[in-house]
């Protein structure tokens, strides 16, 4: 499907030839670096049949933490940001599993708290990060297509793909998502799995946020809708089922890439930001419809309804066969 989208966008872009160039591939990968990890975190939570809404908040919070603590030593900043992500994710996971709470309730609370903490830490302003050289280094093109940021993201995706496919943890995650109770009976420590998933989601979003802030040489409280919609769309386009238990990191990567390609293409074609929003929103609606449990049932009902409404052919004299209607 990724290939289809690339072809489609390239065609739309037509003869201008901006699209199929290394520069565009680079910008696609840069967008991928921004959205990829968030989508991975959100996708993982979807795999266990939960929904981590706090991902967007963690990105901004981690970015702020990284910038604030990393002035002298960028590694310290990243470590602090990752610690915050780990703690935030784990706390939410623990609250969710041990109190048997709905993940949306907890993660909305988490989102508010993270966003609020970001506001408090940044004093509601953009904070600039004095290491311009680091920012440039993070975003410098390697081989024309990747950058340090996107390379790290790609590496993490590959790692997660291996974990999901070949380790017991991966299998446990899918089992927990597919049938929580059944897995628990079968011996899977479902509570630990959920806590682990949310902790991982927190760490991934924190890493994404920290790298983003370093790359921009600034941290700012940013709009929520910017990240949540594409991340969710990416995960579901990538085949993560909303009822849990199905999906894999490579699929998520593909889904995110589709969105990044689309966004890059729109950028190259000179579309303004609202087109991005409408496009992302429409894709998300289409995906939500396609993944809806009752879709096939309703379509069948509609088709049967139409058939039933068709006028019954009249008997003609001389037609002796019995017609069963």
């Amino acid at each position: 499907m990724l290939v289809l989208v690339i072809i489609a966008v390239a065609l739309v872009d037509g003869g201008r030839g901006y699209f199929l160039s290394t520069a565009t591939a680079f910008s696609v990968m840069q967008l991928f670096a921004t959205y990829g990890l968030v989508s991975l975190g959100l996708g993982l939570s979807l795999l266990v049949r939960e929904f981590d809404i706090s991902t967007a908040g963690m990105v901004t919070l981690a970015g702020a933490v990284a910038v604030l603590t990393g002035v002298d030593n960028p590694w310290l900043g990243i470590a602090a940001a990752l610690a915050v992500g780990l703690a935030g994710g784990m706390l939410q996971g623990l609250i969710m599993t041990y109190l048997n709470l709905n993940s949306v309730a907890v993660t909305v609370g988490g989102l508010l708290t993270f966003e609020g903490a970001t506001s408090v830490l940044t004093g509601n302003q953009s904070i600039s990060y004095p290491r311009m050289s680091l920012a440039l280094a993070l975003n410098a093109p390697i081989g024309g297509v990747l950058s340090v940021r996107s390379a790290i993201v790609v590496a993490i995706f590959v790692m997660m793909a291996l974990v999901m496919a070949y380790t017991r943890i991966g299998r446990d995650i899918l089992a927990t998502g597919g049938d929580r109770r059944g897995s628990a009976v079968a011996g899977v420590n479902t509570k630990a799995v959920v806590v682990g998933v949310f902790a991982a989601s927190g760490v991934f979003c924190a890493l994404s946020g920290a790298m983003l802030s370093y790359g921009l040489a600034a941290a700012s409280p940013s709009a929520l809708s910017d990240v949540l919609a594409p991340a969710a769309a990416g995960a579901i386009i990538g085949g993560v089922s909303l009822v849990g238990g199905r999906g894999n990191p490579m699929g998520i990567a593909a889904g995110v890439l589709v969105l990044c390609v689309l966004r890059s293409g729109l950028n190259a074609a000179g579309a303004s930001s609202h087109v991005h929003d409408i496009a992302t929103g429409s894709i998300l609606i289409a995906v939500a419809i396609a993944d809806a449990p009752d879709l096939s049932r309703r379509l069948t009902e509609w088709r049967l309804h139409r058939q039933a409404m068709r006028p019954v052919p009249l008997h003609t004299p001389g037609n002796t066969s019995q017609e069963t209607t």
């Binding site: 929904f51 809404i53 609250i95 109190l99 048997n100 709470l101 709905n102 949306v104 309730a105 907890v106 909305v108 609370g109 988490g110 989102l111 508010l112 708290t113 993270f114 966003e115 609020g116 903490a117 506001s119 408090v120 004093g123 509601n124 809708s225 949540l228 919609a229 969710a232 769309a233 579901i236 909303l242 303004s272 930001s273 609202h274 087109v275 991005h276 929003d277 409408i278 496009a279 992302t280 929103g281 429409s282 998300l284 609606i285 995906v287 939500a288 419809i289 993944d291 809806a292 449990p293 009752d294 879709l295 309703r298």
Partner: protein
């Protein structure tokens, strides 16, 4: 009424009636003590009881309150929340301001209808296809923001002529918005508890399959829930437009989170089927009081989200752990 605490209404608990009474008391006790403690803390804040801060409190209650009333219907129908309500508030404020040329009443009607239909459309996807409500709301959010940006160019819409005199009035010494909010709470409560559609919404939220088997038209109930939510949200948009004298897309940002926080703090069950509009009203008042008290004690606006998130988490956790006992 305290359906969250009682798993089965007619089952005879081991210790007979005494056991059940003790369970009810625990939860209500916690809620009662909590509410009294918070109110006491708020009231002892210097400056809280001044006319200025009380008016400011009442005004902010009316805005968030209307959205919270709407959110209650969505939550009660089993669909957790809608992330698009904030953008709907903004869109309604724009529609209202733009239609003022036709007179205040007509403009209000148009804005309410617009918001109601916009949200009902989301309800159709969720109701007919059982599409994931969070996802649909994220998609709607992106689309609403995108279209609004497209149509308004990101600018503020100013009214053709001033029709706000009605809104600035203070009947019986209370801000007009507060009276609107109170009326909305009463009407909302009546709809939810005393009309057939309200009861159907509650049953769908409580157990969708059982409701279907009983013959309830579940898609219709969900659409109605979303539609009513949209109207309530539109109301908030109108009040905000009147308050600020203009309509723009930032006006409603963040309201969906404050609304769901209010719904949950008030004691409604996030999975739906149990709760009332009264409870959301209480939640709104409690959160607004906390906000006001914090502000008066020197915490800037940045802390608002943070504390709202913490309070929401605390309440949700507390209710869950007490109910489990």
């Amino acid at each position: 009424m305290n359906a969250v605490a009682q798993p089965a209404v007619n089952a005879v608990p081991p210790n007979g009636r005494r056991f059940r009474l003790r369970r009810i008391s625990a939860l209500t006790l916690v809620r009662g003590v909590g509410a009294i403690a918070i109110l006491a803390w708020a009231l002892t804040t210097p400056g809280f009881l001044s006319r200025l801060s009380l008016f400011s409190l009442l005004t902010s209650i009316s805005f968030v309150g209307c959205v919270a009333i709407g959110m209650t219907f969505i939550t009660m129908s089993g669909n957790i929340m809608s992330l698009a309500l904030g953008a709907t508030v903004s869109a309604a404020s724009i529609v209202f301001t733009a239609s003022l040329g036709a007179g205040v009443i007509a403009a209000a009607a148009i804005a309410l209808l617009f918001a109601g239909l916009l949200t009902a459309a989301q309800g159709a996807l969720v109701g007919f296809l059982r599409a994931n409500p969070i996802l649909v709301s994220i998609a709607a959010l992106a689309c609403i923001l995108g279209f609004a940006d497209l149509l308004t160019g990101g600018q503020r819409i100013y009214p053709g002529d001033e029709g706000f005199a009605l809104f600035r009035s203070r009947p019986w010494g209370l801000p007009f918005g507060t009276l609107v909010f109170l009326a909305a709470v009463v009407i909302g409560q009546i709809i939810l508890s005393a009309t057939r559609i309200g009861r159907e919404i509650m049953m769908v939220g409580s157990n969708r399959r059982a409701a279907e088997t009983t013959g309830i038209n579940t898609p219709a109930a969900v659409i109605w829930a979303y539609g009513i939510a949209g109207v309530a949200t539109g109301l908030a948009g109108i009040l905000l437009a009147a308050r600020y004298g203009s309509g723009d897309m930032d006006i409603g940002s963040g309201y969906e989170y404050r609304a769901i926080a209010a719904v949950l703090v008030g004691g409604n069950a996030i999975q739906g089927g149990a709760g009332s509009v009264w409870r959301s009203g209480v939640g709104v008042v409690v959160l607004a009081a906390i906000e006001m008290a914090l502000r008066l004690r020197g915490f800037d606006d940045q802390w608002q989200y943070f504390f709202t998130g913490l309070v929401m988490l605390a309440v949700v956790m507390l209710q869950a752990s007490v109910a489990r006992r």
